[in-house]
């Protein structure tokens, strides 16, 4: 009794702290993309919030850079099952971007260059849970990873963190975005493994 090591069972994913169910750790940064990588010149970049009444608030690149930025470290979890822990970013909190926007909308749709969309509840963008980021590990965000700027919502699966983000549309009702319309979960909580519709 006790002579067979319990450690011989191979990798036990659930034993890694910070790793949601069904995920594995990766130390590189896989590039996933649903289309061509846009190269967005900074003089054409703009981030626009459109409310449910059609009111628009927008920032060009220099106005966006002048907003208070935060440096922070978070874990990210892709629905294709890789997770990357301790990633460091710099960006503007959605609390800052939405701070002066008058809206009673409960849902938002993020839009990107190239036509990608993803839906996120308003409450998941507020209280320090989401950012528009433009630096990764101290470097300008590479176009393959969504540069010049992407959404970052680390508590949801990474498809919610829209690359090449151009803005948010605020909506009274929830609507599916690009992947949600094709079978993925409307919310996408990695800790509840909400990968597909019905999970």
């Amino acid at each position: 009794m006790g002579i067979i090591s319990r450690g011989f069972g191979g990798r036990r994913r659930e034993s890694v702290p910070g790793l949601p169910p069904g995920q594995y750790l990766t130390h590189d940064f896989p590039v996933l993309s649903a289309g061509p990588t846009p190269r967005v010149p900074l003089d054409r970049w703009r981030f626009t919030i459109t409310t449910e009444t059609g009111e628009k608030t927008s920032w060009n690149w220099s106005e966006f850079q002048a907003l208070p930025a935060e440096d922070f470290t978070v874990d990210i979890h892709c629905v294709t099952k890789w997770s990357k822990l301790g990633t460091t970013w710099r960006g503007v909190s959605l609390d800052t971007l939405l701070g002066d926007v008058e809206s009673s909308a409960d849902y938002t749709m993020a839009h990107s260059f190239g036509g990608y969309t993803t839906n996120v509840p308003m409450e998941d963008l507020l209280d320090g849970k989401a950012w528009v980021v433009y630096k990764f590990e101290g470097e300008d965000l590479h176009p393959e990873h969504g540069g010049p700027a992407r959404l970052l919502i680390p508590h949801l699966y990474f498809w919610k963190s829209a690359k090449w983000v151009t803005g948010l549309t605020l909506m009274p009702e929830d609507e599916p975005g690009f992947w949600e319309a094709a079978g993925y979960h409307m919310y996408g909580d990695p800790w509840r493994e909400q990968r597909y519709q019905g999970d």
């Binding site: 649903a34 061509p36 993925y184």
Partner: protein, 98 residues
């Protein structure tokens, strides 16, 4: 012809529509890659096999080589396949042996 290298297409697609054949064979009794699609965006029409395919994504994304609009999306869940065809006005499927 199936693309074999990541640099095959200038638009960044790594594969063409032939690479959807396996997933679509599970759904249809015919080879859909030989069917003709009509793009809902630009009305371009050609064989499904000629679509530009992005497969390093949460699903397969097949785009029109003419206008880059998404024509077909295929998402594999453990127990089902979702096939989103809203980017295709129609599929013209040849019947074998007729």
């Amino acid at each position: 012809m199936t693309a074999t290298s990541t640099e095959e297409f200038e638009d960044g697609a790594t594969l063409d529509g032939n690479a959807m054949a396996g997933d679509l064979r599970e759904v249809f009794a015919v080879d859909v890659t030989s069917a003709r699609y009509m793009c809902a965006g630009c009305r371009h029409t050609d064989a499904v096999a000629t679509l530009r395919l992005w497969n390093r994504a949460p699903g397969l994304v097949a785009r029109c080589p003419n206008c880059e609009d998404v024509v077909i999306r295929v998402v594999r869940a453990p127990d089902k396949v979702y096939l989103d065809l809203r980017g295709s006005v129609r599929l013209e499927v040849p019947l074998e042996g007729v």
